[in-house]
């Protein structure tokens, strides 16, 4: 087999290489931070244009994998450098294209740790972007594995070099966890090759070929191979109890990296469930689904309860994500088209909403200098637009109808219900907890009288009335004015960063159908590859699945 290259495939290749080129171009600009940022943003915007072109070139329903490119890579064991996308991968690549420029904008005035330069930060962001495109565009299992592992490196540096006070600890923990998952997955990757060589006489890593032989693999073998992939994906997603690295990594990561970590990188886990576990090991998926469903639903409730109890706002976001990944995993292992489409849409929406929440909280932290929720209070009075943005991000997080996330969460739950009523009912109760954690954080930080060390500054007057000057420090108006000076409302740059996210939240809330039309044919194909039929409204009529 020689090289097969379509023009769309070249586009994907360009999307892989462009950010890398950008990273190389930006890295040397150590002494010119503004040039570095502007250059990086230019590359990210060009990448966004490419993403739009890829979206246009993709024809929903025309073929399982499109924009294909495949060249010989390691002929000895049939590994090819193969790229291509289905609807599921395409929406994730589009999400990357949208989020990276926004992340760059939000990091524009980030205070970097001593000795770190904007050039380093932005070139790492671009490297990260290239790796993320690669992991979603790979159609060769070995290539996928490679991106899956290499992706860790830029994120390790982003957290470990540019993060908060405990960045070293968080970065290493993140790395160790991912490494463990990756190694186990490697065993399964090799196993897949072995199995394919038994089935076909010649081993292959080609995803599309592997899907066709999936049914011939004995269930016992499938289960072992499944578990290897599953562990890696469950750490990445993450599912409870493998989640404990995420709060640390999310909390210590700089805001921009945190957005990419939770918004995109972790999605590789749930994406892997859907794109690798289900079509490659259908029997094992069916057999082990109850275990995954238990983990998913435990995650929904456990993540939400822990989010309620957090005192650090970035850890709070991380735990809400644990709950949301539970919803996505539920949708994937409920085996219905609606739930699958909902899960894929959820991946996109969660990236947008959590991204916005992270960025808004980053803006709060940039003003107050503290990550502790208790250090803030009554901010809505000082910065009403900022408060409104936090509320909007929060409402999207709790899946209010009219925001993007509602459609995906509703599809997941509605699609899961007919086959898994008990799990779905428990997960549905999670929407109460979601309202609780969002509104409680909003209430504590934004409403009430002005209070908290981060808002009032160090000279918190009421504590030491005796030392305060006559009338001056106790005067509420003076306090308010001082706090207002330290806590300005959103700047034009910040509004510009958030505006696209707000638009997307509302647009995808009321008109998600164009995105669903891209996703639908691919999840329908996944369903049939894995041998499932819909429990409700299926033309076949039979009860598939378990």
């Amino acid at each position: 087999m020689g090289a097969q290259v379509s023009s769309g495939g070249l586009l994907l290749l360009a999307m892989l290489l462009l950010p890398l080129a950008g990273a190389l171009a930006v890295a040397p600009m150590r002494s010119a931070p503004s040039t570095a940022k502007a250059t990086a943003l230019a590359f990210a915007l060009a990448e966004l244009v490419f993403a739009a072109l890829a979206w246009r070139a993709f024809e929903p329903g025309a073929g399982r994998l499109q924009l294909g490119l495949s060249v010989e890579w390691i002929p000895e064991f049939g590994a090819r450098f193969a790229l291509g996308v289905d609807g599921i991968a395409l929406v994730m690549i589009a999400l990357i294209g949208v989020l990276v420029p926004i992340v760059m904008g939000s990091s524009w005035e980030e205070k970097l740790p001593e000795g770190r330069t904007a050039a380093g930060f932005y070139s790492l962001l671009l490297t990260m972007q290239s790796m993320m495109v690669g992991v979603f565009a790979a159609t060769d299992v070995f290539l996928f594995y490679l991106f899956f592992e290499v992706m860790l490196v830029p994120m390790y540096f982003l957290i470990g070099r540019f993060g908060g006070p405990r960045r070293q600890y968080a970065a290493v923990k993140f790395f160790l966890y991912s490494l463990l998952g990756g190694l186990v997955m490697l065993a399964s990757v090799i196993g897949v090759f072995v199995v394919s060589s038994e089935e076909l006489g010649q081993g292959t890593f080609d995803w599309a070929t592997l899907v066709t032989i999936a049914d011939d693999i004995p269930e016992s073998v499938q289960i072992w191979l499944f578990l290897g992939f599953f562990l890696a994906f469950a750490i990445k997603a993450p599912l409870v109890p493998l989640h404990t690295w995420l709060p640390d990594a999310g909390a210590e990561a700089p805001v921009g990296a945190g957005v990419l970590l939770v918004g995109v990188l972790d999605k590789v886990g749930v994406y892997g469930f859907l794109r690798y576990c289900l079509p490659l090991f259908p029997d094992a998926s069916r057999r082990l689904a109850p275990i995954v469903l238990v983990l998913a639903v435990v995650g929904v409730v456990y993540g939400a309860l822990l989010a309620v109890g957090q005192s650090d706002m970035k850890r709070f976001v991380a735990y809400t994500s644990v709950a949301h990944f539970g919803f996505i995993a539920l949708g994937i292992f409920a085996f219905s088209t609606q739930a699958h489409a909902g899960a894929v849409l959820y991946m996109v929406n969660h990236g947008i909403s959590t991204g916005m929440l992270f960025i808004v909280l980053g803006m709060v932290i940039a003003r107050g200098g503290s990550r502790a929720i208790a250090d803030y209070g009554g901010v809505a009075k000082l910065a009403p637009v900022l408060a409104g943005m936090l509320l909007l991000a929060g409402l999207s997080l709790l899946s209010l109808p009219g925001t993007n996330t509602f459609v995906s969460e509703f599809l997941v739950l509605l699609g899961s219900y007919p086959r898994q009523p008990v799990f779905t009912i428990i997960a549905t109760c999670g929407i109460i907890l979601a309202a609780l954690y969002v509104l409680w954080v909003y209430q504590r930080m934004m409403t009430g009288p002005l209070r908290g060390a981060a808002v009032l500054g160090d000279e918190e007057a009421p504590r030491q009335p005796a030392l305060a000057g006559p009338g001056a420090a106790t005067d509420p108006e003076a306090t308010r004015r001082r706090a207002a000076a330290a806590f300005p409302d959103l700047s034009k740059r910040e509004v510009g960063v958030l505006a696209p996210l707000v638009l997307l939240i509302l647009l995808l809330g009321f008109y998600p159908q164009p995105v669903l039309e891209v996703i639908n044919p691919s999840v329908e194909a996944t369903m049939s590859e894995a041998g499932f039929t819909d429990p409700v409204g299926s033309t076949g009529g039979g009860q598939g699945g378990n």
Binding site: F157, P241, Y417, P449, Y511
Partner: protein
Amino acid sequence: MTEVLAAGGIAQYAWLLVALPAAGALVLLAGGRRTNGFGHLLGCATVLGAFGYGVALFVQTAGMPAEQRTRELDLFTWFGVQALQVDFGVRLDPLSLTFVLLITGVGALIHIYSIGYMAEDDGRRKFFGYLNLFVAAMLVLVLGDNFVTLYLGWEGVGLASYLLIGWHTARPSAATAAKKAFLMNRVGDVGLVLAIFLLWAELGTVQYAEVFARSGQIDGATLVAITILLLLGACGKSGQFPLQAWLPDAMEGPTPVSALIHAATMVTAGVYLIARCNPLYDLTATGRLVVASVGAITLMLGAIIGCAYDDIKKVLAYSTVSQIGYMFLAVGLGPAGYAFGILHLLTHGFFKAGLFLGAGSVMHAMHDEVDMRRMGGLARHLPVTFVTFGLGYLALVGFPFLSGFYSKDAIIEAAFDQGGAAGWVFGGTALLAAGLTAFYMTRLVLMTFFGRERWLGLRTAQNKEYRPHESPPVMWVPMVLLALGSAGAGYLLYSGELLTGWLEPSLGAVASVDASPIPHALVPWLTVAISALGALVAYLIVGRRSVPVARPHRVSLPVRAARAELYANAINEAVIARPGTWATRALVYVDNKGVDGLVNGTGALLGGTSGRMRRLQTGFVRTYALGMLGGSVLVVAMLLVVTF
């Protein structure tokens, strides 16, 4: 089942009903301070426009034969996956049009009133933005042609309610009340969405038309589950037992909000939901019985607590809880009561909105004072408010030939008509609560408008004197109009079965099952007599004697229980809030120490000492690179072995 036709004529633009207020909200909220100058006018104009268009639609529909009055208008696909198809579509039928007129009509009056009420508030423009958002969402709720758009409106009004209850952001109690309202509503929402999932699993559709046409295919037990889950949703939104505790707290919002959202429209959405789903409730006597029982419990509970409050708005709030209980009782009676539930909903919309606006006028005059013990003798100072409030009061207590007389009596009669034990229990409860209603409302009017001017010599919390004065015309004109409605609406709608006939295509004909243990002609006069008794007792207690400014603390057990809202909050606190807090804290501890500790412990074990750990960190990437290299060599080696 009436046939559903495609909407034509002016009905093709029915989306305008929602689009107008939605556009208003968008302009006012996104426009920021630039729109401060005209914000209130734009806010009123969009709702008035929607009202005008609603009237035109109503006239058009009323001119059609009854079987052509149910029409649908498809707009666009919201989301669709395989067999699931959720559209934005408008269902125009007598039921939804009735609500359109109520929402936009009363809504427009309250918008106009708010121009005056909120004149001193810096955020008036934003307030109108939120009000417009509410009206748009409420119209989505009643106009949607499927359960998912209903849910969209349902949560949309919940959001508007949340924003407006928490309007005074600096007041911690307002923020707490707003959150509580949203959370208790979410508990109900779980019921509503689960009902939708069940309908989907059973019928494979979420469209009203298809669900109602094929509801007979659902087996009995599932149908009971669906109807009870829908009821749970309705209870959350309408402040019905056991989810009633948020509604009185919602009075933290500005008074126009209480009038529009927490009295006339949003809180009646639960009644709408059950009436809308009448084809489902028709099929299950058990489901109906649960609805009626919830209504009966709530109407009693609200009336009892209403007797004990001194806060003028909270008395009205519990009155709302109680009156919606009447509506639930009515729709729980099935075909015998659906239309009467809607009738009471409409008359209540007039008189309760009027009462709240009147209370707002009193507060406006009294520096936002809500404690009736600090009022008294205000009739002389606020003549227009007194007269309009008085009409609303008479309508609520069921004074003969005013609107409450017709609508409440119709429900009590229908309840007795059930016959047997159910008839006695439901009818008797409703009758008794009518007496309590007269008691607490008379007490309220006496304490506020009559007696000694107890505010003389008192000062507000801000140390100001009370100087009661009548509100400006922009406020009292809406009050007058609502008072006229309170007086006349009942007769107009009830006589000649005007409303029941109009609603027939949506709710079916009123099926009276005359099994009443007491003669029909007697019921209205029995109600009047019991109400008069309640009013008399109130007069003897607060009218003849002077009311102490300080609240008496040595009170009887029932009064204490009523003041504690029959311990609903205490129970919530003890059963849900406190154990929840403990559980959360424990989990955070376990997650940090247990789950994480396990992993870190393993790490430490592997690394030996913490010093080693640190060394591992500094050289980590190099180590990893080496590891990867080694690993890759291993992989290639293994693959080569396998291939050859």
